[in-house]
Amino acid sequence: MSALTFERLGKSYGDATVVQDVSLAIKEGEFVSLLGPSGCGKTTILRMVAGLVTPSRGRILIGSDDVTALPPNKRGLGLVFQSYALFPHLTVYENVAFGLRRRKVAGAELEKRVKEALAMVRLGAFGERYPRQLSGGQQQRVAIARALAPHPRVLLFDEPLSNLDAQLRDEMQIELKRLQRGLGITTLFVTHDQGEALSMSDRVGVMAKGVMQQFATPEDIYHRPATGFVASFIGKPNRLTGSVALRNGAGGTLSLGGGLKLPASLIDQPEGAKVDIVIRQEAIRLHRDGTETGALAGTIALRSFSGARVQYVVKLAEQVELVAEAPSSGPDSELAIGSSVALAIDPASVFAMSAEGTAA
């Protein structure tokens, strides 16, 4: 049985449809992310689950209970807000105790569970403080402890890490994941950060303009994107325009302009169709002076060092440039601008999308 189920869930504000018929089932103990650009309806979905927004269509089930019409206080969920939303007038201890008191937990049991929750987020010594006396990361952990303390059936997160600086964010990702694994609590996590979604989740739902594009494991999302949107949203994509030169089974050859040809293992469009071509930077292998067969030849136009990796802008032909990566300490880490290189591109990482404005 699923822990959380959406059945054709939808939300409209007047004429504007913000969430369109989203159906999915989250398994007990699973960590699921909703990933998409800002404004695609992620928060709206989360707030519908929490009971803070009334759905226009469809149903929400927790376990086998239809909760679509229940008010938020009857749903038994834990919600962690992007803004933390701690009670500023209560101490950390009282913030965490809030949900427990609502469930009539009192006395020694209350104290035990508050301490337990604070210990889980390593804030055991901070009970007497007020939220304003804590750093952003600590406030976030209080918010998590507060949501966890009443043992919710499902835990909901709305971009909980986006207000933290990069290093803290990485730490919190791991900490959160460990916590979730340890407790085995079903989790729905909303984010616009693909790294976060891919690294933390058992499954990821990619959304665009209120429509669920693909709901699958991180590996499938990355390697087998279901739609052009997913292909161009995930990873670090190069975007080029071109057309389908040849169809051959499921795949074929794409024409890049400047007379360049590129094989792709999956093409949906017919021969001759204009397409947008997405090639992931990390799927391009770059070599000094190509002798490899099937490789594209080009010259280095720009080099940029970013720590573990080096990015090169490679010019293949007039108006055709690709960004490719290499490890920053290998043989290909110090190519000079103007040197000629060969690019080997995995056909499975080349995606053709119907060009904007043309029919698929």
Binding site: R47, L79, H89, F98
Partner: protein
């Protein structure tokens, strides 16, 4: 951030005006309050006395006026709070398109002259006023209710006049309460009523405090309305002070009463700030 030196410069014009036209005259009244008043002659030269102050606490009549003033301030503040909060909540949280019309309605009475509004209440509350006439005509009462020249009349009039101040303060405070924090309480199991009492109300405490202090201070120092609705005999401190100065020409006594009123106001403000802070966890 503004450096302290620049901060001083920013408030300098206001500080100068206040010092010159407010603080200095007030301080000039201080010696007067310790002077002795000789009926018919004015201030006795070179005689200093505490009599003007001791009389305020020992004289039954003064004591009665002081309690009446404090009671009036308290009642009016509470009445404004109880009636103003629901309205402020509606303005702050109700449909967007109602907001401006409702605020205009709240502000509208403030555009009418105070004397005119007080006369309006006389027409309504007098023995042969609209309210009494209506009740008698309906047969609900046989003799007119005493609605003027007493606490009831002053309360009604002053509550009406100071309600807008309270509402405007509360609207600002309620709009400042983060909705996410209320939503958080709801997901943690709070009913709508509990969300209100445990989150919205304490988080709007700064507005409740500011509005209450404002209304309280305005009420205990109000002159025109108490004079008109209280008549020459039912006095509060402001009207008493006015009469001491202008009718009896007893400046020492009037000055002492003025300072007493000021210290009462400061005392009440201090006490209520402390209580509110403790209640709303702002300590």
């Amino acid at each position: 951030m503004i450096a302290p030196r620049h901060g001083l410069m920013l408030i300098a014009p206001l500080a100068l005006v206040l010092a010159g036209f407010f603080l200095v005259p007030v301080l000039m009244m201080l010696p007067t309050s310790f002077a002795e008043y000789v009926p018919g002659a004015g201030l006795a030269k070179g005689v200093w006395t505490l009599e003007n102050y001791t009389r305020i606490v020992t004289d039954d009549y003064y004591r009665e006026v002081i309690w009446r003033t404090l009671g009036l301030g308290l009642f009016v503040t509470l009445a404004c709070l109880v009636m103003g909060y629901p309205l402020a909540y509606l303005i702050a949280r109700g449909p967007e398109r109602w907001r401006v019309p409702l605020i205009l309605l709240v502000i509208f009475p403030m555009m009418l002259n105070l004397v005119v509004r007080s006369f309006g209440w006389i027409a309504l509350l007098a023995n042969r006023g609209l309210v009494n006439n209506l009740l008698i005509d309906l047969g609900l009462i046989s003799a007119p209710l005493k609605l003027m020249f007493n606490l009831t009349g002053l309360m009604i009039g002053l509550t009406h006049i100071y309600l807008p101040f309270m509402v405007l303060m509360l609207v600002a405070a309620i709009r400042n309460v983060p909705r996410d924090v209320e939503s958080a309480a709801a997901t943690l199991g709070s009913s709508r009523l509990h969300v209100f009492t445990s989150v919205t109300l304490p988080l709007s405490a700064p507005g409740i405090l500011a509005g209450s202090i404002l209304v309280f201070v305005l009420t205990i120092s109000a002159l025109v309305t108490p004079r008109m609705l209280g008549g020459p005999t039912y006095k509060v401190m402001a009207t008493l002070i006015y009469d001491e100065f202008m009718q009896l020409l007893d400046w020492p006594s009037g000055s002492a009463l003025s300072f007493a009123l000021t210290f009462m106001a400061i005392g009440v403000i201090w006490l209520s700030s402390r209580l509110t802070k403790r209640w709303a966890g702002m300590a």
